[in-house]
């Protein structure tokens, strides 16, 4: 994100450099405290942008009277970015994470490894970071994280950035006992989803500056307890919103969003069911195809002249079976998980809409109460009500910005997903075609061979 001003701002709130140890330093270093001292008083770290007039030194928390206005400034800047971001995305249709000059934080999740201890067995993934941001002390990091850690990060982000849409994680619990948590396929699928999650966060102009992300990416050892304590203050403010306020009228644009999300979710569900059904039919087709090929082989055994042609057919059928297996595997490993993840993403979005509604409801409720009181005893509208109003405006602005981003991402993601599906099908047919063409070549060779033998 090419936003210049916010980059060095308090939102990232880095620890003083002296406190951060080099990840590659001696093994017996003390556990790092991952969360910098970011929250002071009512400072909302999600704003990311301090008041224009405040000093913007790295690591200095900035007291602002109205973080909302700073946030809206930030968002205005952010909105300016959007067209660029879109253009960027267009240019890199195949790899939205391939950078151009504006991106300065790259993250990757790979290299799954199994860890066995007396208490439990679990998988860790390598999280690699490359960055030029000054919020980070080093240009590169490589740490190992497990699912729990990602979950921790997500919760932290949700708590600390309640007005923003946090990308979803793959399902936490795998039940049924049918799914093997340690199978290659499961781990692979999960890893891709975690990678996606992290990339989306790193891509977000506000979330990517969140100190928890920083800690997640750079700390040798996540000390969760400490982080938990520090953030309860913020958590509280979010929880307060969940009071019993009823929303009067949701603005039209948010209604439209809600409706869109409902229909979209429905369509996703339908597509999921169709894809599953196709998989099922393909599996059954594969079973019959295998038996079919086997009959050709066994027939070949009782023939002499026809032996090679029949065996050839059996071979081509077998190649087609292999190609079909690949196609089905692709569908179940790449297509379906991404589809399902979008359902989760849609749910997250709906959640944010709900929170926004609640925040608006709270504001309206308090305002009404305050107006009533003022009518009675002329007390001025209290600060909390103003703060509520700010919060609502902030929420609305953040949400709109996130919505645009979400829509744009969705378009890219689905373009990629569906194009990928088309590609896989094309490859499947290409492989089958090659198998049959080679058979014809074989058979026609034999024919010309026979003809020359006849004439001789």
């Amino acid at each position: 994100m090419s936003v210049g001003a916010p980059r060095g701002l308090a939102s990232s709130g880095q620890k003083p450099i002296t406190e951060i140890l080099h990840p590659l330093s001696a093994a017996d270093e003390p556990p790092l405290s991952p969360v910098p001292d970011v929250t002071v008083g009512g400072h909302n770290p999600s704003s990311g942008a301090a008041d224009k007039d405040a000093g913007l030194t790295n690591g200095t928390p900035v007291e602002t009277s109205s973080p909302a206005s700073a946030s809206s400034l930030f968002n205005r800047l952010q909105l300016d970015d959007e067209p660029d971001a879109d253009a960027e995305a267009e240019a890199d249709a195949h790899d939205p994470y391939a950078s151009t000059e504006t991106r300065d934080l790259f993250v990757t999740v790979d290299d799954p490894k199994k860890h066995v201890s007396t208490m439990e067995t679990y998988i860790t993934y390598r999280v690699s970071t490359k960055t030029t941001r000054i919020e980070f002390d080093l240009p590169e990091y490589s740490v190992r994280r497990r699912y729990q850690d990602f979950d921790w990060l997500r919760i932290k982000l949700e708590d600390s950035q309640p007005t923003h849409l946090i990308p979803p994680l793959p399902e936490k619990f795998v039940m049924k006992g049918v799914v093997d948590r340690f199978s290659e396929e499961f781990v692979e699928t999960r890893m891709k989803a975690l990678d996606k999650f992290l990339k989306r966060v790193a891509d977000h102009p506000v979330l990517s500056f969140n100190p928890h992300l920083n800690a997640f990416l750079s700390a040798k050892d996540l000390n969760k307890r400490q982080g938990l304590a520090l953030l309860t203050k913020v958590g509280e403010s979010v929880k307060q919103v969940a009071g019993g306020y009823k929303l009067r009228a949701r603005p039209a644009e948010f209604c439209a969003m809600g409706e869109y999300l409902d229909t979209f979710c429905q369509k996703l569900g339908t597509i999921d069911r169709i894809a599953q059904r196709i998989l099922k039919e393909q599996t059954e087709y594969l079973t019959e195809l295998r038996e079919y090929g086997a009959v050709y082989s066994s027939w070949a055994g009782s023939e002499d002249e026809l032996r090679r042609p029949l065996e050839g057919v059996a071979g081509s059928v077998s190649s087609c079976c292999g190609a079909l297996e690949d196609l089905s595997e692709n569908m179940s490993q790449d297509f379906l998980p991404v589809l399902r993840e979008y359902v989760l993403y849609t749910d997250s979005m709906k959640n944010v809409l709900r929170k926004r509604d609640q925040s608006q409801a709270e504001y309206e409720g308090r305002l009404e109460a305050a107006v009533l009181r003022r009518q009675e005893d002329r007390t001025p509208v209290p600060v909390e009500v103003e703060k509520c109003q700010d919060k609502v405006e902030c929420f609305n602005a953040d949400l709109k910005a996130d919505w645009e981003r979400w829509q744009s991402n969705k378009r890219q993601d689905f373009k990629q997903l569906l194009t990928g599906m088309a590609d896989k099908n094309i490859h499947y047919y290409e492989k089958c075609q090659a198998a049959w063409e080679s058979l014809i070549a074989l058979l026609q060779d034999k024919q010309t061979e026979d003809k020359t033998n006849e004439t001789n």
Binding site: T263, T270, Q282, L289, Y292, V295, A422
Partner: protein
């Protein structure tokens, strides 16, 4: 295409284009015409049409059946450029059956070409098992034509008078043959043990069993595969619907989604033609499934003739032995006569003379019989072996062509698939 060299009649030609490739390719047909096939050289034969008729059957009940139009034209007239109208007559399936049964009985050493199936078998769920179904009737028409062409191009069968009458004259000349045909056919299915069958025929019979088993297995497996493939394609049609619904709530993505949906619909629809074409392949396999039976019949006939020869030979041997005993008075083997003689005393010389004379007559008859049967057996073996070789060559060529055509069909299906998905991909890229 069906054995004619230069079809002048456009209507006939059109019919051929639609159907004949399926059973006999051009090269095979030309071969048939050239290799000393007499009737087909002289005559252009086709089963041009099929029609429904109603009438009373043998038990005076109303029934509906299909008749087929057999058209013939003299080859020389066509070669000369004249375009005479064909002679034609209508015949129903049961008449074809009578003809074939006649051929089976009259030429037991020939592997007689089979008729298309009487009832639709190996159907997968979309195919109709109804005999009146137009697709079934059409494929049967093609099968009947194929039968006639094969028979008319056979070096021996094509010269048969009854065949000629079948093709050119209306009439019941076939009916009286049916009774003899039935009884001889029944004989072919009896079981008996043969001591010295020709090993080649034993092997061939074994092969015919294998051929029958493999082709029927293949047909069944293919039908199941067709069923499943149908399902895969049709489910994709659902994408068309959901993409269309989804496109309604999208702005920029809408057009791409909508168009892609149409391609998914096209994809789902394409399977119908694909599988219909594959039925032709199935028909080719079926022909050889039934051919296997015909081959088996030739081997069985050999067993029968050999058995009869062995029985006749054995009978002759025992009669000669009896004569010897009677003449010399020495009993070599146990016999009833010998025992009664011992018990009740020998018979009078006049009686003995009479019996001896009878025996001599029987022996003479027996020797004639053995000679006849030996000749019959040898003829059958000779003729049968030649025709079985002819059949083997034909089978190898036909099935190889069929497999190549099958591969071509598969390639065409793959190309269609690539086309549709490429189109869809373009739409997705425009999203």
């Amino acid at each position: 295409m069906s054995g004619q060299v230069g079809t002048a009649n456009p209507k006939l030609h059109e019919k051929k284009c639609v159907s004949s490739f399926s059973l006999l390719t051009c090269s095979v047909m030309f071969q048939m015409v050239e290799e000393g096939s007499t009737l087909l050289r002289r005559m252009e034969i086709s089963v041009a049409e099929a029609e429904k008729r109603s009438g009373k059957n043998s038990v005076n009940m109303q029934e509906t059946f299909t008749v087929y139009l057999i058209e013939t034209r003299p080859m020389d007239a066509i070669a000369e450029g004249r375009n005479p109208a064909p002679d034609s007559l209508w015949r129903r399936y049961s008449e074809f059956e009578l003809l074939r049964n006649y051929l089976l009985v009259t030429y037991p050493f020939i592997v007689v070409p089979p008729l298309p199936e009487k009832r639709a078998e190996f159907v997968w769920h979309k195919l109709s098992a109804d005999n009146m179904d137009p697709d079934f009737v059409e494929r049967r028409r093609v099968g009947l034509e194929n039968f006639l062409l094969r028979v008319a191009s056979h070096p021996i069968l094509s010269n048969d008078k009854i065949l000629y009458h079948f093709l050119t004259e209306v009439g019941g000349s076939l009916s009286f043959q049916s009774r003899t045909a039935d009884s001889r056919l029944r004989a072919l299915s009896a079981t008996f043990r043969v001591r010295n069958p020709d090993k080649r025929f034993v092997d061939m019979k074994h092969y015919s069993d294998e051929l029958q088993s493999h082709t029927s297995q293949l047909l069944r497996a293919r039908a199941r595969v067709a069923d499943r493939l149908y399902g895969v394609y049709k489910v994709h049609g659902n994408y068309g619907r959901v993409f269309s619904e989804w496109s309604a709530i999208e702005k920029e993505m809408g057009d791409g989604l909508q168009s892609a949906g149409h391609h998914m619909d096209a994809y789902a629809a394409s399977i119908d033609d694909i599988l219909e074409e594959e039925e032709h392949y199935a028909d080719q396999l079926k022909e050889y499934l039934f051919y296997a039976e015909a081959l088996r019949a030739v081997c069985r006939k050999h067993e029968l003739t050999q058995f009869e020869l062995e029985m006749a030979t054995q009978d002759l041997v025992s009669k000669k032995q009896q004569r010897e005993e009677l003449a010399t008075g020495i009993v070599r083997t146990f016999s009833f006569k010998g025992m009664t003689n011992k018990l009740f005393g020998q018979e009078a010389p006049e009686q003995r003379e009479a019996r001896l004379k009878l025996l001599e007559e029987l022996i003479a008859e027996g020797e004639e019989s053995v000679k006849e049967k030996t000749a019959e057996c040898e003829e059958h073996v000779e003729g049968g072996w030649v025709d079985m070789q002819r059949f083997k060559e034909q089978k190898d060529k036909d099935l190889r062509e069929a497999l190549i055509n099958y591969a071509i069909m598969q390639i065409s299906m793959c190309k269609k698939g690539i086309q549709v998905w490429s189109n869809a991909k373009e739409c997705f890229l425009k999203m």
